[in-house]
């Protein structure tokens, strides 16, 4: 390997190496921004901990109260924002490649809504959630995360199956794919509303939270599950980064370059659905992050999936952390629902994409 990299230095021109270095720099900058935002989030909140108290708590000291705030409120919230942002952005990034559709993402195709319906079904019909009702904010603990996740995944998968079937049988254009997504979204939203009609109060509050998106809900065990699933998917995506690059040049070209296009597409779509569904199962619907994060980083790193994948994940995390900071800052001490914030952020950008005509070529 060392020998190879030496040869790289002798033959590959400086300009290309510089070009690669610039993209690596973009990745590092995003990482730094993410770290800075995470720190900022740690210091912001209604409890008013000073920096000294915070440092003390993080290094093992601090009062019981400050430890509770840091380890049970703020840190989990940051961890959730990072993993959910990354999961949604990765699924959007890969869906856009595999479906050859720049408007694809979990929320625009209806996968999120399908997953939310699955989660709601688990909570209301299968009695998998909504146990303690001490106060409105903590009312919603999931008693059986596994069931909720599984049902969310199945709901998301149902949507993905319809979209894939549409691609296969009708070779759907990007716009009709999105229209199908709109139809599926309203179908699942309608079904979720119907479920709410039959729910009791506690269940209802649980389901309503879903439609908001709430980063404060998952506990550490759910967070670990989200990280494990998202990381595994990320590694698979990264392993296939050259296959995605080949697929950007067209299906035939990709096949002639040795890519098993069908297999890659099915596994990729399955994993995209899985990570988006898990995010929805624990946090609720967070729209548009998955759509816009890849588009933002494309401006800086182009369509090269070597860089696009990690940068999209970082950008997704950054967007959600920013959204969360905004949610806390707008009407303190209330924390506005993150789903509403990202929609306000994302919808104008979505429209911009359409106006610029980049989206539906």
């Amino acid at each position: 390997m060392d020998l190879h990299s030496e040869q790289l230095h002798t033959c590959t021109p400086d300009s290309y190496r510089l070009f690669l270095r610039r993209k690596r720099l973009v990745t590092l900058v995003l990482l730094a921004v993410l770290a800075a935002l995470a720190l900022l989030s740690l210091t912001s909140g209604s409890a008013g901990l000073s920096l000294a108290e915070l440092a003390d708590t993080l290094t093992g000291g601090g009062t019981a109260q400050s430890r509770a705030i840091v380890f049970h409120v703020r840190l989990p919230r940051i961890a959730v924002a990072i993993v959910v942002g990354a999961a949604l952005a990765l699924s959007g990034c890969v869906m856009q490649n595999v479906l050859r559709n720049p408007l694809a993402s979990a929320s625009t195709l209806g996968v999120s809504q399908g997953a939310a319906f699955g989660a709601a079904l688990a909570i209301i019909a299968l009695d998998a959630g909504a146990q303690n009702a001490a106060n409105a904010a903590t009312a919603v603990t999931i008693s059986s995360p596994g069931t909720v996740t599984l049902c969310a995944f199945l709901g998301g998968l149902a949507t993905t199956a319809v979209i894939l079937g549409l691609c296969r049988l009708r070779s759907a254009s990007p716009s009709s794919m999105i229209l199908a997504g709109v139809a599926l979204s309203s179908l699942f939203s309608g079904a979720t509303t119907l479920l709410q009609y039959f729910a009791d109060d506690v269940q209802l509050s649980a389901v309503v939270y879903w439609t908001f998106g709430d980063l404060g809900r998952p506990g550490w065990s759910e967070i670990r599950l989200m990280y494990a699933v998202t990381l595994a998917a990320f590694l698979y995506f990264l392993w296939n980064r050259w296959n995605y690059n080949a697929l950007s040049s067209g299906v035939q070209t990709a096949k002639s370059l040795g890519v098993s296009v069908d297999l890659l597409s099915y596994i990729s779509m399955g994993l995209c659905t899985l990570i988006a569904s898990v995010a929805v199962a624990f946090v609720g619907i967070v729209s548009f992050v998955g759509l816009i994060a890849p588009h933002i980083v494309r401006r800086f790193v182009g369509s090269d999936y070597r860089f696009l994948l990690p940068c999209s994940a970082l950008a997704g995390s950054i967007l959600l952390l920013l959204g969360d900071l905004a949610a806390k800052a707008i009407l303190p001490p209330a924390i506005l629902p993150i789903g509403a914030i990202t929609s306000f952020l994302g919808a104008p950008l979505f429209l911009l994409l359409i106006f610029r005509g980049e989206a539906l070529r």
Partner: protein, 256 residues
């Protein structure tokens, strides 16, 4: 040596290719000629396994293509489609993609070297960091050729590589394609409509008619009689600077 044996393909009950057999050597540039719908592109896609032939086989140095994995096949056969989807990637990355079948986790130093040489072979080294979707048609064609060269195949399949190019780029591209065959010792199979380009740059000719091989051979295969039979067109073939030229004798429909 590449052998195509009794290859047949049909869409449902409609036969497209019937019992096509021929062979080509490495270092040889073979033109596939014939009318629209004669099965030229289908032949190319059956050889590259983009389509599965209903019967017959393709052998590369004695090994049937059907027994190779897609990745193994891609190490032996490169394919340039008639139309390419162009993403927002640089010329160098587009060429480096040709090393994909040879990569494990990512490109090695050798992969970078081969890509760089392929880029120089088509004379595009000054455009290394330009984006492929911002290039002219002729430049894009050269990048696609460079990718196919970087794949270091035994067989290169080209589907109408000159159809959207201006005359000068047609000649430059065909010159490059001939150089791939002769200079890089690759067997090249090129689907082409322009008979004069084919006669000038290719070594052998395969004339398809209704999915079967009507004639094959050297320049003598492109004769007035064969052109009439394959294309349904009157033409004379005359020598110009030692190269045969096809001059169509188009009969105007007189309305009386």
């Amino acid at each position: 040596m590449i052998e195509i044996q009794n290859l047949s393909f049909s869409y449902g009950s409609r036969p497209i290719l019937q019992d096509v057999s021929f062979s080509l050597e490495q270092g040889e540039c073979v033109a596939v000629l014939g009318n629209n719908g004669a099965g030229k592109s289908t032949l190319i896609s059956c050889i590259s396994r983009l389509r599965r032939p209903s019967s017959g086989s393709v052998l590369i140095d004695g090994t049937p293509v059907s027994q190779m994995t897609r990745s193994q096949l891609a190490q032996q056969v490169s394919y340039v489609a008639q139309k390419n989807e162009l993403s927002h990637t640089t010329v160098f990355d587009a060429v480096l993609l040709g090393r994909k079948p040879h990569m494990k986790w990512g490109p090695s130093g050798i992969d970078y070297d081969v890509a760089e040489h392929a880029l120089r072979a088509v004379g595009m080294e000054d455009c290394r960091l330009r984006y492929v979707n911002q290039l002219s048609g002729g430049e894009q064609q050269k990048v696609m050729l460079a990718r196919a060269i970087a794949q270091e195949p035994k067989l290169m399949l080209l589907d109408e590589p000159t159809s959207s190019l201006d005359p000068r780029n047609q000649y430059e591209s065909m010159e490059l394609i001939r150089h791939c065959a002769h200079g890089h010792n690759i067997a090249v199979l090129v689907v082409i409509h322009d008979l004069n380009l084919a006669l000038r740059f290719c070594d052998r000719f395969l004339l398809l008619k209704d999915g079967t091989v009507f004639a094959s051979g050297g320049r003598e295969a492109v004769s007035s009689e064969n052109i009439r039979a394959v294309y349904g067109m009157e033409a004379t073939v005359e020598q110009f600077d030692g190269i045969p030229m096809v001059i169509p004798r188009f009969q105007r429909h007189e309305s009386s």
